[in-house]
């Protein structure tokens, strides 16, 4: 027995029927690309082309083209890597953790958020390849027999854990996303008019027919995949944080890193979801699917995780003082007042103060303000990683080797490459695949919206939806 409170606003507005959902979402896949899409895609390709030239030169000439020196051996490469991986986490949170918590509002945004996850992890992986300097040796990170030119990899190293964590995370996310896509691909296949789209969507729909047996297995494996993805996503950023935390560098060697990194990842990821969804919802006219309620709920998550991050910053700072290790204390004092003070205060302002503005209901329901804060949060989270990496490294134990880092055009160009890659992939996704999970949205319409199709009134069961009384239906939950 399932009770729907009449007070709660329906998740999907506009009194949509099942056919409306199909029509609203498929329209964008089936129509010719719009002028706006072509312009956006053209710009993305240009950005990608510029980035690719920078990247090609980085690989051709070697990592010397970056601003690294012998003191600061990690800078923008690892900053960008951690930033992109973190962004990816929101997609898995929405699709897996919110599925376990039975949060039905996820259905409107999980498809696009998961696509974002996959593309963000691709961008992150590109920085792993970049910072190797010799990407053709990338296979050395795999446990290959000694005859391949190296010893077995060191399984005690968090960097090797990372190889397994990121590749597992990427492939499991891809599979989870694809399983969710199959029913929608079948819907598009069955509506397709041209031979080529029938062939393409038909091939990827794998002959899906939507029988009750298939659906029950589908739901079962979705639940298990969600159950697997939840600890997986937490493990990924935990392991990323251990890349730092297991080394004996003041500023990195702290036990708070895993939870603090995971909260930061979800924080920045939700901000990126907001940015993407706010644009998509206007361009694709999805205001009935991604409503103000969705935006407000995501803003609440941003405030929560932003507060966790803020508490972590303060705890870390307190422990650096209270712990009594002078190197540790200096590392933190130097972050705040040293030559990179501006990065530290940019991080504090963007990540700790800005999300607190969402305590105001008016602000968290304002679309313009949400978009602005989401950009601010992503800038802040980029600075967080920059602060952790560069300010911890640039003044090491020997004052004679203290140095500063400044990026070259190739540091910047390689970062631009990842933006070009991300937006090119996201635009391709938003044109050729359904941006909203139609099957899941159809399954939440009835239990959450007040609409009553006239046709079924009087059939089998008397419905009383949309009345002031609590409504009971027999969905077995």
């Amino acid at each position: 027995m399932h009770v729907t409170s009449p007070v709660r606003e329906p998740l999907i507005q506009g009194g949509k029927t099942y056919a409306d959902v199909t029509e609203d979402i498929c329209r964008h896949v089936e129509g010719a690309p719009t002028k706006e899409w072509k312009i956006a895609f053209g710009i993305s390709l240009l950005v990608l082309a510029y980035g690719s030239v920078c990247l090609a030169w980085t690989w051709w000439e070697g990592l010397g083209v970056w601003g690294l020196n012998k003191t600061v051996g990690w800078a923008w490469d690892i900053t960008n890597f951690v930033w992109w991986v973190g962004i990816g986490h929101a997609g898995t949170l929405i699709s897996a953790i919110l599925l376990l918590f039975r949060q039905k509002w996820r259905t409107s945004i999980n498809r696009a958020a998961e696509a974002m996850t996959i593309f963000a992890v691709i961008c992150a992986a590109s920085f792993i390849l970049m910072h190797m300097g010799r990407p053709w040796m990338a296979y050395w990170a795999l446990p290959l027999p000694n005859a391949f030119g190296s010893l077995w990899v060191n399984f005690n190293s968090p960097l090797v854990w990372d190889v397994f964590a990121i590749s597992t995370y990427f492939s499991v996310s891809l599979v989870f996303w694809y399983i969710g896509l199959i029913p929608d691909l079948a819907t598009i296949r069955d509506r397709a008019t041209s031979k080529i789209s029938r062939l393409m969507y038909g091939t990827f729909a794998m002959g899906w027919d939507g029988s009750a047996k298939t659906w029950s297995r589908y739901e079962y494996i979705s639940l298990i995949l969600a159950g697997l993805s939840t600890p997986l996503v937490l493990s990924v950023h935990t392991i990323v944080s251990m890349d730092f935390a297991t080394s004996v560098i003041p500023g990195w060697h702290t036990t708070i890193f895993p939870p603090y990194f995971v909260a930061g990842a979800i924080f920045s990821g939700f901000a990126m979801v907001q940015n993407l969804m706010l644009i998509t919802r206007v361009v694709y006219r999805l205001e009935d699917y991604i409503t103000l309620e969705h935006i407000e709920t995501m803003n609440k998550v941003i405030t929560l995780t932003g507060s966790v991050v803020g508490v972590a910053y303060i705890t870390e700072f307190f422990i650096a003082w209270y712990g009594g290790v002078e190197y540790e204390y200096y590392a933190f004092f130097n972050r705040m007042t040293g030559p990179y003070w501006w990065a530290y205060w940019a991080m504090m302002t963007c990540n700790v103060i800005s999300p607190q503005l969402f305590w105001s209901r008016r602000l968290r329901r304002s679309i313009t303000f949400t978009f602005f804060i989401s950009v601010v949060v992503n800038i802040g989270m980029w600075f967080e990683r920059f602060v952790i990496i560069v300010t911890s490294l640039h003044r090491d134990y020997l004052p004679s080797s203290w140095a500063m880092f400044s990026p070259t055009m190739f540091d910047i160009g390689d970062y631009i490459f990842s933006f070009g890659l991300f937006f090119t992939l996201f635009l391709l996704f938003s044109k050729y695949l359904p941006v909203v999970n139609m099957a899941e949205v159809k399954s939440v319409i009835r239990s959450t919206s007040a609409q009553l199709p006239a046709k079924i009134a009087g059939v089998a069961k008397v419905r009383q939806r949309g009345t002031a009384e609590p409504v009971f239906n027999s969905d077995k939950e």
Partner: protein
């Protein structure tokens, strides 16, 4: 896909609750239902149809155990047996350091094994691009019930009437 040759009555419903309530009613009346096709999952429908509970979870567990054993074997053999080395003063075989990768490979094997099992058990594959056999609208907005006349003792008219009484808006005949 399974062989579907035969003559079928196809009831088309407009609503998920209607079809969910129609199933036990029809079964009580003695109609044997082949399958129901819907654009989204309907909770309780597989139970109402009398489908056995899926055993895919057992398969998933087995794949997980395989992944776990594979990971531990790989790491213990390479680090401790094939080329033992002391790194950072740790034992050549130090299980706590192997936990992250063991976890990752357990998840990887479970996810892939389970999804491949899912494809095989449902007969899904990239070569099988066809429309739903009974009614193409079942991936859009209709709920389609297929009844194999060859397996029912009741007459076509009786079943057809029962379908209409249970709320079907159309009853069609399909022959393969």
């Amino acid at each position: 896909m399974a062989d579907l040759s035969g003559k079928y009555l196809v009831g088309v419903y407009d609503d998920d609750d209607t079809v969910l309530h129609a199933v036990p009613r029809l079964r009580k009346a003695g109609v044997k239902i082949k399958e129901v096709y819907s654009p989204f999952p309907i909770h309780g429908l597989d139970e109402a149809l009398g489908h056995p509970r899926t055993r895919i979870g057992i398969a998933a567990f087995m794949f997980g155990v395989t992944g776990c054993i594979t990971a531990l074997t790989l790491m213990i053999w390479t680090m401790g047996i094939d080329w033992p080395m002391i790194i950072g003063g740790k034992d050549p075989i130090s299980i706590p350091n192997y936990i992250p990768i063991t976890f990752e490979l357990t998840v990887l094997f479970t996810a892939f094994g389970m999804v491949i099992t899912f494809f095989i058990s449902n007969g899904l594959g990239p070569g099988t691009h066809f429309h739903p056999r009974f009614d193409v609208r079942s991936t859009d907005n209709k709920f389609v019930m297929a009844i194999d006349l060859g397996r029912n003792s009741m007459s076509e008219e009786e079943i057809s009437r029962a379908l209409k009484d249970s709320g079907a808006e159309e009853v069609n005949i399909k022959q393969f």
